[in-house]
Symmetry: C2
Subunit: 405 residues, 2 copies
Amino acid sequence: MLTVKTSSEAEKIIFDTFGKNSVGIESVALLSSVGRVLAKDIVSEEDVPGFNRSTVDGFAVKASDTFGCSDSIPAILDFKGEVLMGETPKFLIDKDQCAYVPTGGELPDGADAMVMLEFSEDYGDGTRAMLKPSAPGQHVTFKGDDVKAGQTVLKSGTRLAARHIATLSSLGYSKVDVYKKLKVSVISTGDELVDVDETPVGAQVRDINSYEVCAALIELGCDVERVGIVVDELPLLEKAVKDAVDSSDMVIVSGGSSVGVKDATFKVYDKLGDVLFHGIAIKPGKPTILANVSGKPCFGLPGHPLAAYYIFNLFVKPLVLLMSGTSNESILKKTAPLTLSIPCNHGREECMGIRFVEKEGKEYAEPVYTKSGLVSTLSTIDGFTRIARDCEGISSGDEVEVELF
Amino acid sequence: MLTVKTSSEAEKIIFDTFGKNSVGIESVALLSSVGRVLAKDIVSEEDVPGFNRSTVDGFAVKASDTFGCSDSIPAILDFKGEVLMGETPKFLIDKDQCAYVPTGGELPDGADAMVMLEFSEDYGDGTRAMLKPSAPGQHVTFKGDDVKAGQTVLKSGTRLAARHIATLSSLGYSKVDVYKKLKVSVISTGDELVDVDETPVGAQVRDINSYEVCAALIELGCDVERVGIVVDELPLLEKAVKDAVDSSDMVIVSGGSSVGVKDATFKVYDKLGDVLFHGIAIKPGKPTILANVSGKPCFGLPGHPLAAYYIFNLFVKPLVLLMSGTSNESILKKTAPLTLSIPCNHGREECMGIRFVEKEGKEYAEPVYTKSGLVSTLSTIDGFTRIARDCEGISSGDEVEVELF
């Protein structure tokens, strides 16, 4: 008989056993990489920008030629010509010379600053008057200011967002190496379950957990295979789990894991591989199973949808993120004072659903009391707080840390 | 000549003109609705659960029969039989009777509480001993406890997450009505631009903005058409914008919007429709354009990638969310004290990039000083803070509100 683990013991077993599992790498088009996890460090092979670039429309000058100039004592400079966008100037700027450069255009060699167009005047005699001094480097982005050749600009493990895509495009990545999507198979088991498009008869209920868990995995960027409902019979469940292990990186079975009359998930996992724990001392969600089948993590989640969702967030999600290759992601958390006291608990770590409410412009955490089977509650709460097993209650007004869904 | 607008004037024009634009509705499979926006209120047609359900493995009883019982004075009840999962019991529970019901099973009529299996004993004579009293309703979810028929459980405008999918599956929605994805066409314009897979020659630079903006739109759930680079020539740009307006709900052109030698975006928008503003008094990103072409919003964003990204987040994103049908989404914000002072600004509202840093366990907002052309900066900042035009500087240690990317 396996003993119940504390949540930190369970986390340790999960990460010690499967923390090094990972998926392969694939190359995808730049815009297809949004939301994917970068699989290699991005090291720039070039300076960005590749030339000294103006950040304004105006005149490229030697800054020292403009020192001390003003509206009343302008600096009169010879006009050498206009630099067109995207073209490398074919002339130099020498002392007392200037050239027109548009925003984004390249400064001629010899120039080290820009004077904005509005602070200049055209005297119509081949000269331009500068009415305001510029310091060296003013209105100029120098070659390599943004990125120097050899610099690491993005780390492997980064979940690619729009601003990373900007960086990748600036360096010329039309394709990006990302981790393959983690493939997860999700099975619901239970004789009482019918699929979502069927009408429950008598005491049947619709399968909620496989949809809930699949949706959560889709949100995390996984490639999801919803096997669907398998009745609580050993040979059928065994075949479904075996097939799922063969075709996936991770298997999740929900339902069938409480110590009741039937306990098919435990028996199947125990037969096909090693059950690493059966039960976590946490409320709700005690009947959680983890097994190692052919080196792949196989979870058994509680049958109650709310309990299954807490356990998914606490124990499955961190492993999904790790196996997906992310190194910079953690569970989003927010701290707020409680609106109501949470009474003592019962020697077990406890998850309490939290809804954020605003009172007089300040945000508070409202504990939501519910039975674990209640699904409608789930769509009205924003996350949950963990109450330690030795905690004797939390008072109204005390700050709690809320893990956001 | 159009005058420059303040950011709140610009917001008002955007929402007054296009706030009622919306996309159609389509029906998609339940798991395809993850991340989509619900287009109709979901009203339950049935009670959930549809029967009185046990939340434990144990015995269904009349609670009053167990009052006062204990280990030493058990309540001895006649065993009426076992209720199987998913089956409606064919017998009643009368006074001094009990029946075995598994977790999730239906209580027989007459029973109003459960006693957990571990607090019972089988005497082997057709009776069962209850060793602990249960209160009425204990370990039972009553019919309709979760959702009552006629109750609105999800509001139109909700971005569907895993927990909403759970609710929808419990109510039997195998398909869901969601808003169609907002279709946005994105054009880059500028003679200096080359595409990401080309090597810039001379003062050419790679197109960053169209990738950055497309990626941000993908993150918001849009259907994106990247038209790509169109050179700064009126007839070509005019044709590209016309085609984009015909095929999309919104058009975004970036680059070509500063008051420089060329100003093709303004001229094209002015010719094809009404330019509503040209310039917002905000730094960086002054050269922002909004036009109404055939009733569709057409933006012109600054050419600098960082400026374009700020303007996108400030002015385009809220309209994208609104037109996508979302009612419950706002820009994520976080408050933290500054690590460094931000000096006065210059009569213009200003955006300052912020990176969160941790010092002695507390989170601080570090202002990131950068030239607006620098793309590598973008991937190292977490968001930005807005500095009001009349603000004379913010001191180190002052709390600032950061809008997160």
